[in-house]
């Protein structure tokens, strides 16, 4: 009689099992790596602290990537359905870890020399937040992940002594908090409507008649759209991207998108009652369509690479949402494929920018690319690959991704979205190819001083370029990522 009683008492104290903790082990690995970075920094008196911090961070990232990969195919509901491991979460976590590794490398290459350990640790913890979002299956876990991600990013945006960086941090803080409050209030209303925080409990047909559910879901989606920086909530993105340090921009542009898209995908695929999705999500698809146009038009007049990629990101998220429109399993796979491709091409473009930058980030200005093909032919070739990929031209993954997205929209009947995608792509060409032209053109005007090449960033750009081309010909797409909730 005593033994069950004791077991019950133990269960009262620690309600989570061993398996629950195993589920968040990849996240834990990254979080612990951040602590190690901080502790190691205490004992490091050497001149260059950058490489130690970044090295530990990268090691933690690799360990986490291996741990996450081992979870693929082993679906497990941890924390009473709050966090679900398995295919879907693994894929998004790997994308986030790729973004983290890429940004850490850039940080090692050109990041500011001071306060490196702290910044590295914050970036790692930020990534933890995004990884939690990848597996989050209840409203609280979503909020927890989002806040962990965002809080870190606020600090990272202001991590250099520049007026633009401080402005960027403040802008991001205020606008992102607004978005979070929408999301939180929406979550509260959803809880009010269902009495549960689990996404799985939203799948009840009778919710269709509950106005609380509609308002809650609407506000939740507004928060998501805000975080994805779709029109009309997009104006902050270019400013924040421009002001933040280059490695942080690289991280933000991929990891935030991956985390929020994971939440969005799980919400629309798994949590909406039948018959609701088409009506509730139509505004989202409309917004995605407008974003493809506005983002691409916005790129045309930019002179700063980070701003350009900020606007580009607005449009690229639009493309990914086109794949999700129609809520088909294949669409989800193609969205993930495109997101992966986007991660590589975006990180690659930032790596090229970093490779020709010094501490002042000269590579962020488009004037730095004038005549780059003569000074740095291989780097210019890599940049060409990334720009072609972003524009959706062959022989890159961007081309195949666009084809797959177009095919999805053709099969689900969202042809108007496909048409907007085509128009948006046609507009975007000018902006991307303008950079290519600057690199290969015969403009003999004065170019800014040439910095010694940053080898880490160079290597990162090379890897990304090879991958962007390779996955166009060997498309890797995870197959067993469904079901998303139970």
């Amino acid at each position: 009689m005593r033994i069950p009683h004791e077991a019950a008492a133990a269960a009262m104290k620690i309600p989570f099992t061993h398996a629950d903790w195993l589920a968040v082990l990849p996240v834990g690995a990254v979080a612990v790596a951040a602590l190690v970075v901080l502790v190691a920094d205490l004992f490091n008196t050497g001149r260059d602290q950058r490489y130690l911090s970044v090295g530990i961070g990268l090691a933690g990232t690799i360990v986490a990537a291996i741990l996450a990969a081992r979870q693929f195919g082993h679906s497990h509901d941890a924390f009473f359905g709050g966090f679900i491991t398995g295919g879907f979460a693994t894929v998004f976590q790997e994308i986030i870890l790729i973004a983290l590794a890429g940004s850490l490398v850039l940080y090692g290459g050109i990041g500011p020399a001071q306060r490196v350990a702290g910044m590295t640790a914050i970036m790692l913890w930020s990534a933890c937040g995004a990884m939690l979002m990848a597996g989050a299956a209840n409203l609280l876990m979503i909020f927890l992940g989002l806040e962990l991600l965002s809080l870190g990013l606020y600090a990272l945006c202001g991590a250099v002594d520049r007026k633009a960086a401080r402005e960027s941090a403040l802008k991001y803080l205020i606008l992102s908090s607004t978005a979070t409050s929408f999301l939180l209030f929406g979550s509260a209303l959803l809880f009010g409507a269902t009495g549960s925080v689990l996404l799985a409990d939203l799948v009840h047909p009778w919710l269709t008649f509950n106005p609380l559910f509609w308002i809650g879901a609407g506000m939740f989606l507004i928060g998501i759209v805000f975080k994805l920086s779709l029109v009309p909530f997009h104006t902050w993105t270019p400013d924040v991207f421009e002001g933040a340090p280059l490695p942080v921009t690289a991280f933000m542009s991929v990891a935030t998108k991956a985390g929020v898209l994971a939440v969005f995908a799980r919400f629309i695929y798994a949590a909406l009652p039948s018959g609701v999705a088409e009506r509730l999500l139509l505004p989202v698809w409309v917004v995605a369509g407008i974003s493809m146009i506005v983002g691409n038009v916005g790129m045309l007049a930019q002179h700063d690479l980070k701003r350009l990629l900020g606007y580009s990101g607005i449009a690229q998220v639009g493309y990914i949402l086109v794949a999700l429109a129609g809520v088909t399993p294949l669409g989800l796979r193609y969205a993930i494929y495109y997101l992966t491709a986007y991660a590589f091409m975006n990180l690659g473009a930032f790596a090229v920018a970093a490779a020709i930058s010094g501490e002042d980030e000269e590579g962020a200005h488009l004037s730095a690319y004038r005549g780059l093909a003569r000074r740095r032919p291989w780097l210019a070739a890599a940049m060409t690959v990334f720009l072609l990929a972003l524009a959706g031209l062959p022989p890159t993954a961007g081309f195949l991704g666009k084809i797959l997205i177009l095919a999805t929209s053709a099969s689900t009947g969202y042809l108007w979205l496909a048409a907007l995608l085509i128009v948006g792509t046609a507009i975007s060409l000018y902006a991307y190819v303008k950079v290519i032209r600057a690199m290969y053109g015969r403009d003999e005007r004065e170019v800014p001083n040439l910095h010694p090449l940053v080898p880490l960033a160079w290597a990162s750009a090379a890897i990304c370029a090879v991958l962007v081309v390779a996955i166009a010909f060997y498309p890797v797409m995870p197959s067993n990522i469904l079901p998303l909730v139970r």
């Binding site: 022989p395 084809i403 095919a407 085509i422 290969y440």
Partner: protein, 457 residues
């Protein structure tokens, strides 16, 4: 490794390897480039017809890297390799190594296009072949704005091609369909898909009113690149019409044959009239291209089997004589540093070989019997007449008379007449330059006398 794959990859890989050479090695890069292009002729003839396939996608539709020449595409691919070889052998531009690499890349992408048996691969190479020309325009062209116009026009076409291909794949289930007998496509969206294909093909050919990118592009590019672009790249659209649109959706082509034929007829007359009044020698040939390709569009629109056969002969003939014309005009421009008919004159006295080369090319272009242009025109006209489009035949005959007028004017203003004082006297064709146009001129004569092999497929 299958030979057909080697044929496609060899120029691309060789072009990339060429960039490792030291920048100053002009003769070596030109010689290597010519050799590679010649090698592709050999591999094409040796194993271009043997198919090779590798699965690319299985969902949402089946797509494969499927290459292999059909009898029809083999001729165009052969034209491409020969023209590229001649163009590289003759080219003389600054930064030669990079230029030759670009030409090889252009050849490889177009070989991929013509040898592709899969629509998606076709669309991939379609977009890919625009890139080297764009680089040619920004690196060696006369005006940067031309590069934009070329790129935006053609890529807009590429995007509609892409959308149509995706829709085709989703509805039909496979894009691995080029040259497969009995693959007929009919579905609810067939008209729209055809519209997507047709737009891309019409921009690339080009036809009036989508041609405005073409004259500045053709006159702005270095002559060795434009000879490849006008000879072969412009045929991508016509090849698409015949091998894809006519083969896969004949009903839609027939349904909209009227508008297509009208567009072809307008291009035919409009191009000829504008060519009559131009003073820029390269622009005359550019507009003559618009006119000549309008005739092929008419042949395709007629849907007549004989006319389609004639279209192949004329595709090859036009490729040969436009490449030869551009190449010879390139020699003229290089020597005299101008290509304005107002300033040129009397070159023929000093340069008999140059004059002879221009003469043969121009005569072939105006359709003199015994040369390749005539054989193609004649078969097309008979076919179109058989199909019952008498008005189109009459329009074409008017255009052929106009062609004689502007081509003779071109020849006379450059080679005949009094020698002008302000152009320097330069030596006649060197033997390398002569060798570089000889294959083109010889082929014009051979096909003019004996076009039968081309009429067989």
């Amino acid at each position: 490794m299958p030979i057909v794959l080697v044929t496609v990859l060899l120029p691309i890989v060789a072009g990339a390897l060429l960039l490792v050479l030291p920048r100053e090695d002009r003769t070596i890069s030109r010689g290597l480039g010519t050799l590679v292009a010649a090698a592709t002729i050999v591999t094409l003839l040796a194993g271009g017809h043997a198919e090779w396939s590798f699965r690319w996608l299985s969902r949402p539709f089946v797509a494969a890297f499927h290459f292999g020449a059909t009898p029809f595409s083999l001729w165009i691919a052969l034209l491409l390799t020969v023209v590229t070889m001649c163009a590289i052998a003759a080219c003389r531009v600054p930064r030669l190594r990079d230029f030759v690499a670009l030409m090889l890349f252009l050849e490889g992408t177009m070989l991929g296009l013509f040898l592709a048996r899969d629509l998606l691969v076709f669309a991939l190479f379609w977009d890919l072949m625009l890139i080297p020309v764009f680089f040619g325009l920004i690196g060696w062209g006369e005006h940067p704005a031309t590069a934009w116009r070329y790129f935006i026009y053609n890529f807009a076409g590429g995007l509609t091609l892409l959308l149509a291909t995706a829709a085709f794949g989703v509805i039909y289930g496979s894009t691995d369909v080029i040259g497969r007998s009995g693959a007929h496509f009919a579905g609810g969206w067939a008209e729209w898909i055809y519209a997507g294909f047709a737009f891309a093909f019409l921009v690339k050919t080009p036809v009036w009113p989508l041609h405005t990118w073409m004259p500045p592009t053709y006159s702005g590019l270095p002559s060795s690149m434009v000879s490849v672009v006008s000879a072969v790249q412009s045929k991508a659209g016509l090849y698409g019409f015949i091998a894809i649109a006519l083969a896969l959706m004949p009903q839609e082509v027939a349904q909209y044959a009227g508008p297509l034929m009208v567009l072809g007829a307008i291009s035919l007359i409009y191009g000829a009239l504008v060519a009559l009044v131009q003073n820029d020698a390269k622009r005359i040939v550019a507009y003559s291209s618009l006119s000549h390709l309008g005739l092929i569009i008419i042949a395709i629109a007629s849907g007549n089997a004989l006319a389609i056969k004639g279209a192949l002969v004329y595709i090859v003939a036009h490729g040969l004589f436009s490449a030869a014309l551009f190449q010879v005009l390139g020699y003229v421009e290089e020597r005299e540093e101008t290509r304005s008919l107002l300033r040129l004159g009397g070159l023929g006295w000093q340069n008999p070989r140059l004059a002879g080369a221009l003469c043969i090319a121009a005569l072939a272009a105006l359709g003199l019997p015994g040369l390749a242009g005539f054989a193609g025109e004649l078969v097309i006209l008979i076919g179109v007449y058989q199909a019952g489009y008498v008005w189109a035949v009459i329009v074409a005959l008017v255009a052929i008379v106009l062609a004689a007028a502007y081509l003779i004017r071109l020849y006379q203003d450059i080679m005949n007449g009094p020698e002008t004082d302000d152009v320097p006297v330069r030596p006649d064709l060197t033997w390398v330059e002569g060798l570089a146009v000889t294959p083109l001129l010889a082929a014009l004569i051979i096909i003019g006398v004996y076009p039968t092999p081309l009429l067989r497929p």
